[in-house]
């Protein structure tokens, strides 16, 4: 059985990360931006698991758990904020929240 190389795993992580990044830059809707950030976080976690698998140690998985926790907290707080923005600005356009300019 031919095994998977590290580069393939990291390449997958990289590609997923790039896709998430493009989405963050392109989208104007705040919720889509949040989803794209989730994609990026997931890709970063994948990279950690790949590393842990390379060294056959649980450290990579531990790190992924931390990332997971952080993503959960971030999503809950972020969604609360999105609700507030929608309530104030009546729109989900991220460009509408540009009062801190100049």
């Amino acid at each position: 059985m031919k095994a998977i190389s590290v580069e393939a795993g990291l390449l997958l992580a990289g590609i997923l990360f790039m896709l998430g990044l493009i989405s963050v830059l392109v989208r104007r809707n705040i919720i889509f931006m949040l989803i794209s950030v989730e994609i990026m976080l997931n890709a970063a976690g994948l990279a950690f698991i790949v590393a842990g698998s390379k060294w056959i140690q649980p450290d990579g998985q531990v790190m992924f758990i931390f990332i997971l926790t952080m993503a959960a907290a971030e999503v809950s707080v972020g969604l609360a904020l999105i609700l507030q923005i929608y309530h104030q600005l009546k729109t989900l356009d991220s460009d509408a929240a540009n009062k801190m300019n100049g």
Binding site: V24, L25, R28, S94, D95, N101, G102
Partner: protein, 628 residues
């Protein structure tokens, strides 16, 4: 006892601090006590320190307060150096200062700036004491600048009147020119000797410099520039007559007895350098001689009582410079001491007269005060007699005559100096007694509003006694050759050597001087008391000369045309301030970049994320380039 030396300048300093800090909450009597008390205590301590010092027989005493600063090779300490020369000055400053403070209590009694006045006076006395006690030239420069500052503050004391402010500024600026010359002189001295400690310079100078060497001449001339500014000699004398805008105690203390003699002190202290630079010493004498004649002629034509005294001060300091110029060091210092007594007396008495006549300063509007103000009249007369050097009974005779004799008989004496001094003595006598006769004789033109109180008259009496009796400590050969004063100064100042074979003719010179003084009195009497009707005719005949002398030989106009007008012209051209444009230009550039960069902060989230991505790309690229 000698250790109390440091208290002498510190007490007035503390007095000034307290008066400034608590000026609003102190009553007038408390301020008077603090102000006069600090100087009074200083005078007392001077006596104790002086007695202890003289009885110990040491040539000098050094007290180091603390190490001030060390920069590179220069190590300056806040140290006081006491020897006979500084002791004489200490004595004069503290005693006359104390008497003037007592006088000011009466003179400034109705003034609302009473506390401020005493604060400034105390600060002045402190600075002057630091100046004369200074162990090194840096500390002396501190005192030098301090007296200049206090002179400015006190001349412009009644600052609400504009002309007082102008007079104060004029004094400060003109003396500043001298101060700059002195500072450059200090730099040159440091360059040559590596230290600014006065005693070290004086001992090293003869070894480092030959007589007449260029560096010595340059340094001596620069120090002379500083002395000329502070002592109001040619060409920087124009500020002193205008400085009479200050109150009379100020004129007495600063512009008669102490600050203007700082230049004399400087030259006497650095006498070694002047001995190494005969050219410079000659010029000290020339400046002295020229100043004393010019100021004498100007004094003859003034009608403001205080201006006569101001020009007289310039003239008498010219005598001191003349004495220093011919090498008669102790004679110059002796004349300084006697002059301090009688000039302070004259100024204080003039102040009493002016105050009694409700601020009337024109002599031609005074008169007939002889019977109304007898004490003032008598003290003024004693002071005037001393100034005119009336023979035998006045201190001024002994001091001025010594200078006159030494210009004739001294080794560096010169017939021109002698004639100038003699002419000066003649004119001094004339204008002095012109002043006396106009003010006190004749009919009363202005009535007295109120008589001066005891606090003003008692100092006058004391000073009158001093100006008469103090002369007897130095009598010439013909009168018993008492040399207490010059013996006192021998460890510090060198003795003058006389030409050969002239000692026996001293009495001739004294006779000539006495005749000159008395004839001056008679001429003043003739024209101002006996045949006053001759005056208008003479005045119209010499009108132009009279105006020329009156305006101080045109120096003010000269400086106005040469310095003031071009400066004002350039300042007016530069009204929009070219240099400032550079700084506003910098501001404009900053604002331009601000406008450009503000556009990157649009508040739009995606732009910021784009920025992060671009940054990440750049950093990755950089790290790849650095180590691929």
């Amino acid at each position: 006892m000698k250790e109390l030396l440091w208290l002498i300048p510190t007490l007035p300093f503390l007095g000034a601090l307290i008066l400034i800090a608590f000026s609003s909450r102190l009553s007038k009597s408390v301020s008077a006590v603090i102000g006069s008390g600090s100087i009074g205590l200083g005078a007392l301590i001077t006596l104790l320190v002086g007695y202890d010092f003289l009885s110990s027989g040491l040539p000098s005493y050094r007290y180091v307060a603390w190490n001030w600063f060390e920069v590179g090779d220069l190590s300056t300490a806040f140290a006081f150096h006491l020897d006979a020369l500084s002791l004489v000055f200490l004595f004069v400053i503290t005693f006359i200062g104390f008497l003037i403070h007592i006088y000011s209590v009466g003179y400034m009694h109705d003034d609302e700036g009473f506390t401020r006045f005493f604060a400034y006076l105390n600060l002045f006395v402190c600075s002057m004491l630091i100046l004369v006690l200074a162990d090194n030239l840096v500390l002396m420069y501190l005192g030098w600048e301090g007296v200049g500052l206090c002179s400015y503050l006190l001349i412009g004391f009644w600052y609400e009147e504009e002309k007082n402010g102008y007079a104060a500024r004029k004094a400060f600026i003109i003396t500043r020119v001298g101060d700059t010359a002195m500072a450059i002189g200090l730099f040159m001295l440091f360059m040559s000797f590596g230290t600014l400690n006065i005693q070290e310079i004086l001992t090293q100078a003869p070894q480092t410099w030959a007589v007449g060497s260029q560096m010595a001449v340059v340094a001596a001339f620069l120090l002379l520039g500083g002395a000329v500014g502070k002592s109001a000699q040619l060409p920087l004398q124009a500020w002193l007559p205008d400085a009479m805008a200050g109150p009379s105690p100020v004129s007495a203390l600063i512009h008669a007895a102490t600050m203007v003699t700082a230049g004399v002190y400087l030259i006497a202290r650095m006498h070694v350098i002047y001995e190494l630079a005969p050219v410079a010493q000659l010029w000290v004498g020339i400046i002295g001689a020229a100043t004393l004649t010019i100021a004498g002629f100007s004094a003859l034509t003034q009608f403001d009582l205080k201006r006569v005294l101001a020009y007289s001060t310039i003239s008498q300091i010219g005598y001191m410079f003349l004495a220093l110029g011919i090498g008669a060091w102790s004679a110059g210092i002796f004349h300084f001491m006697i002059h301090a007594f009688f000039k302070a007396l004259l100024f204080l008495a003039a102040g009493a007269v002016i105050m009694a006549l409700h601020h009337e300063q024109d002599m031609f509007k005074m008169g007939g005060l002889k019977k109304k103000m007898p004490i003032i009249y008598l003290t003024f007369l004693i002071g005037a007699a001393s100034l005119a050097a009336l023979p035998l009974i006045t201190g001024g005779f002994y001091s001025k005559d010594q200078i006159l004799w030494l210009t004739w008989a001294g080794e560096k004496g010169n017939i021109m100096f002698f004639l100038a001094a003699l002419l000066g003595a003649f004119i001094t006598s004339i204008y002095t007694f012109r002043m006396v006769f106009l003010t006190f004789f004749g009919e009363e033109k202005t009535h007295i509003s109120h008589m001066p109180g005891k606090s003003m008259t008692i100092p006058l009496v004391i000073l009158a006694a001093l100006s008469t009796l103090a002369g007897f400590i130095e009598l010439p050969h013909t009168f018993g050759h008492v040399t207490i004063f010059s013996d006192l100064l021998t460890p510090v100042l060198p003795e003058i050597t006389l030409r050969e074979g002239v000692e026996s003719s001293e009495w001739i010179i004294q006779l000539v001087a006495a005749v000159v003084a008395l004839s001056g009195v008679y001429i003043a009497y003739y024209f101002y008391v006996k045949r006053t009707e001759l005056r208008p005719g003479i005045k119209s005949a010499v009108r132009d000369t009279y105006q020329f002398f009156h305006y101080g030989w045109g120096f003010d106009t000269l400086y106005n045309t040469v310095f003031v007008r071009p400066f004002v012209f350039i300042a007016t051209i530069n009204k929009n301030d070219v240099v400032d444009k550079f700084y506003t230009g910098l501001v404009l550039v900053a604002e331009f970049f601000n406008r450009v960069f503000v556009k990157t902060q649009s508040g739009i989230l995606r732009w910021y994320i784009m920025g992060i991505v671009i940054g990440a790309i750049l950093i990755l690229a950089l790290s790849l380039i650095v180590n691929p």
